[in-house]
């Protein structure tokens, strides 16, 4: 007969895994038909202009800084790359070049890196970033791995404490009634040392 604990754990594990079914439905509803091994539907309609009036103060950063900024912006063509990597890798992408032109225009217009990122988030939403923001609910993305690690560390320390038994003091050992000769004790010592290696 299944125990209560076994039944509940199996049920819990099953339900947790089954929650993927809903996600799977949602995914299959929104994704188009894919081809070959690349599960990346290309959609140039995903481009949306990100434009702000020029401040007339000249470029706000160097080309290298602009490239670094483009590494933080997610290309919206359906790939998993950032704007810089996508536009310099895939010449058939119709989305990363106009996104790059928007970045260039904003840089030329005098906007800082953070202002440009904010402008892209305002238009595309948070999905345009290459990483979750470190605020609101998305902070959990950053915190959770370290919380889990902290919990794991606490668990390991608790287990070590529970398992730990103070080893007998050498003096107390010598007081035990033993029939071993000094030679036998020496051999035993050697064996233990060998085991330590």
């Amino acid at each position: 007969m299944p125990t209560r604990r076994g039944f509940l754990s199996a049920l819990g594990a099953g339900l947790a895994t089954a929650s993927f079914a809903r996600v799977l439905d949602a995914q299959q509803a929104v994704q188009g038909v894919n081809t070959g091994t690349a599960n990346v539907p290309m959609d140039e309609a995903r481009y949306r202009p990100v434009q702000l009036p020029s401040r007339g103060t000249g470029p706000s950063m160097t080309d290298a800084q602009r490239d670094a900024l483009e590494h933080k912006i997610h290309c919206q063509c359906g790939c998993t790359l950032d704007v810089f990597t996508c536009r310099t890798t895939d010449f058939s992408c119709q989305v990363s070049p106009p996104m790059h032109h928007d970045v260039m225009a904003l840089v030329a217009g005098g906007y800082s890196a953070q202002e440009i990122i904010n402008a892209f988030v305002n238009v595309y939403g948070e999905r345009v970033l290459m990483e979750p923001e470190q605020r609101g609910f998305d902070l959990t993305a950053w915190v959770m791995p370290f919380v889990a690690l902290g919990g794991g560390t606490a668990l390991v320390i608790a287990l070590i404490r529970r398992w730990r038994q103070p080893a007998a003091e050498p003096e107390s050992v010598s007081t035990l009634p033993m029939n071993a000769t000094p030679d036998e004790l020496s051999r035993l010592d050697k064996l233990v040392r060998h085991d330590d290696a």
């Binding site: 993927f20 079914a21 949602a26 690349a38 010449f91 979750p132 609910f137 950053w142 290696a197």
Partner: protein, 677 residues
């Protein structure tokens, strides 16, 4: 042959169904005739899956386009080698490949374990048959590679150009060999849990399979990195793509198990933990397959979306529920025997090693699944890209690297202060010297300096361990140091093979740390124009465009740009990068244009060029990247694999006397150098 293959798939389904039913019934009722019948059914399943695979290979190699799979993934002008590898290029064929490897593995495991695991085998056989049944069911009703088209097209669609690469020919089979090998330990774990025979015996049976899984997973991952680097053109070898992450998870869990099993063998501890790790590695393999095939998370590596995701989800739910039930109801049987004597002991080091390995696995799983969670909670699917994974995993990875050096220096049970001082002095000095030297040379990238310093410490540890062993052999047997080195490794493959793996890990970390000095440039060059740049080592590079050329070759039309590369004014080579438009035998274009990167590789740095586009007739838009130490990723991977191979290599039975002559051995010599780590 093709027809035989097609029919064999259905016969294999019946055999697997009988093996599962008769096996579980026989194991439950302890009827030997049913148990034997299930075992024979498992062998028969293997034979028929082999026939089904040979049938599909025949259809691929003879370009029988009446089959949907053949028409979808090959064309008449595809080179034969890629017709052969097209077997695992698509959903249906790769599932058959899964079933093929699984049934071969299962037969080997059951045959080799028939005498040593008499109590477990009645449950192992139907468990393996059930897994095979799932895959064959999915093949027959969800993704049948033998589905025929209503009409026969004159040519097939061809193979995705990115898969027409030697790396892609070898990467998936190795990854599958690694993934699927986790099924054998899983079946043994299920058998051990059901029969409550949870002593060390079943673990010794599965350790070799876990090692095999770990080895092929390592080779598969490194080959995948190489393929991504030379073929995809984004300039790196690891992009934290969900499918890449999924392949890494079982590797991390298997690595944790290969360390924690030593604690159980030596001290009888961590029994619950080891069962959990064995089960988790298999479940994560299935989870990885589910991600690749369901379309639940978008990935450049994923197969086309199909209903197969639901099949895998159902199987995952069943497997998770059954194992969760078995583990929780057997907790009392898994109670550890031994006690920890000191926190400063190798047992503790392994505990923290497992904690960090599982911590990294959790962080990767969490980051991979977070977009789904975010969509469910906030309605927005955020992107979790490389910046997140690097930020979270670099400190954890460095912690792991540090433990790689600490573990071997601490004795089992308890370490005295004197012992610690003696063991740690040399390696710590090595690490500090490396760190100080790099700072003195002007390196300021914090994580890189830290990685190299810790790497120095770990190398110091390994060198010290080898030096001690070699000196002992030199003193005891008068062997030269070279002979002593080889015999040391040969006599204790597990321990010293493990150290070789650690050397490979240090090399890999050194290569990863080099990425901090990567430099990339977005350039536009007309024929004859020059571009100059300074790399991360301070060398001055000049690139002169030799112009853009167009030509046809084999089954493709190629556009190429050639650069003359000079370092500090000295000619070092020509670099050609291409865009290829593949065509079918009728001359029609197939797929999107593919990138063929140009790489000038040197031990300290790769110059990596990508042709992003062509303006007019002779102006190329390019990305030029200086990638430091990439060479060491491939060689580090090879060292890790070599170490794994040494650990796996069967130890000769030294009790068996050699024919004709038996040398008298002095007492104590037989066990010399066998202090297994």
């Amino acid at each position: 042959m093709i027809l035989i293959g097609e029919l064999s798939l259905w016969v294999a389904l019946l055999m697997a169904a009988w093996g599962t039913t008769a096996g579980f019934a026989g194991a439950y009722t302890r009827r030997p005739e049913l148990i034997a019948s299930a075992r024979r059914a498992l062998y028969a399943t293997c034979a028929f899956v082999v026939l089904a695979s040979v049938g599909l290979w025949t259809a691929l190699l003879t370009s029988d386009f009446s089959f949907k799979f053949v028409a979808a993934y090959t064309s008449a002008n595809l080179p034969s080698v890629y017709k052969f590898t097209a077997f695992w290029a698509g959903q249906e064929g790769s599932l058959l490949f899964w079933a093929l490897i699984l049934s071969i593995y299962s037969s080997i495991a059951v045959y080799t374990g028939r005498k040593s695991n008499r109590e477990l085998m009645p449950w192992v056989v139907p468990t393996l048959s059930a897994i095979a049944l799932f895959f064959i069911l999915t093949l027959c009703f969800g993704a049948n590679p033998y589905t025929r088209l209503d009409w026969i097209p004159p040519d097939g669609r061809g193979l995705n150009p990115q898969l027409q690469n030697p790396g892609m020919a070898a990467h998936p089979p190795n990854l599958y060999l690694g993934y699927i090998a986790t099924a054998i330990p899983f079946a043994f774990a299920v058998g051990a849990l059901i029969t409550r025979r949870l002593n060390a015996e079943w673990l010794s049976s599965v350790r070799r399979w876990v090692l095999l899984s770990w080895f092929f997973n390592t080779v598969g991952i490194v080959l995948g990195m190489w393929w991504a680097y030379v073929e995809l053109g984004w300039g790196g070898y690891w992009a934290w793509d969900p499918v890449e992450n999924a392949s890494f998870l079982p590797w991390l869990i298997n690595t944790a198990f290969l360390h924690s099993i030593m604690v159980q063998e030596k001290r009888g501890m961590l029994r619950k933990w080891n069962v959990t790790l064995v089960v988790s590695a298999f479940l994560l393999s299935i989870f990885g397959t589910f991600i690749t095939r369901s379309g639940v998370i978008s990935s450049v590596h994923a197969f086309s979306q199909s209903s197969v995701g639901y099949w895998f989800l159902g199987f995952l739910i069943l497997a998770v529920s059954v194992t969760a039930y078995l583990v929780t109801t057997r907790l009392s049987d898994l109670k550890a025997n031994a006690e920890l004597e000191s926190i400063v002991s190798r047992e503790s080091a392994f505990l923290f090693n497992n904690l960090l390995l599982c911590g990294v696995a959790f962080a990767i799983l969490w980051g991979t699944l977070y977009p789904i969670l975010s969509e469910a909670v906030q309605g927005t699917k955020v992107t979790v890209g490389p910046p997140f994974f690097n930020t979270v995993n670099i400190p954890l990875g460095l912690g792991l690297l540090l433990l790689t050096g600490i573990g071997p220096l601490i004795a089992w049970r308890r370490a005295s202060v004197r012992n610690l001082r003696r063991q740690f002095t040399g390696p710590v000095v090595c690490g500090v010297l490396v760190g100080v030297a790099l700072l003195a040379f002007g390196m300021r990238a914090f994580y890189s300096v830290l990685a190299y310093a810790i790497g120095g410490f770990v190398l110091g540890t390994i060198i010290q361990e080898f030096q001690k062993g070699m000196s002992a052999r030199h003193r005891m047997y008068g062997e030269s140091y070279i002979v002593a080195l080889f015999r040391l490794i040969a006599r204790n493959r597990r321990r010293y093979g493990g150290y070789i793996v650690h050397i490979g890990v240090v090399v890999l970390f050194a290569a990863f740390a080099g990425l901090a000095f990567k430099k990339e440039f977005d350039v536009t060059l007309r024929a004859g124009q020059t571009f100059s740049a300074v790399d991360g080592f301070g060398d001055h590079w000049t690139f002169v465009s030799q112009g853009v050329s167009d030509y046809d070759e084999l089954n493709r039309h190629t556009t190429a740009v050639l650069l003359e590369a000079r370092r500090n004014g000295k000619f070092v080579g020509m670099i050609k990068s291409e865009k290829r438009q593949y065509i079918d035998s009728q001359g029609n274009p197939t797929f999107e244009p593919a990138t063929e990167v140009g790489i000038l590789d040197k031990p300290h740095e790769d110059v990596y060029t990508v042709l992003a586009g062509v303006i007019g007739e002779d102006t190329a838009e390019m990305r030029i990247t200086f990638n430091p130490l990439v060479w060491w990723v491939w060689y580090g991977g090879m060292i890790v694999a070599l170490g794994g191979l040494i650990v796996m290599w069967p130890q000769a039975d030294r009790r068996r006397p050699q024919a004709g002559y038996v040398a008298p051995l002095a007492p104590g010599l037989v066990d010399a150098g066998t202090g297994a780590a």
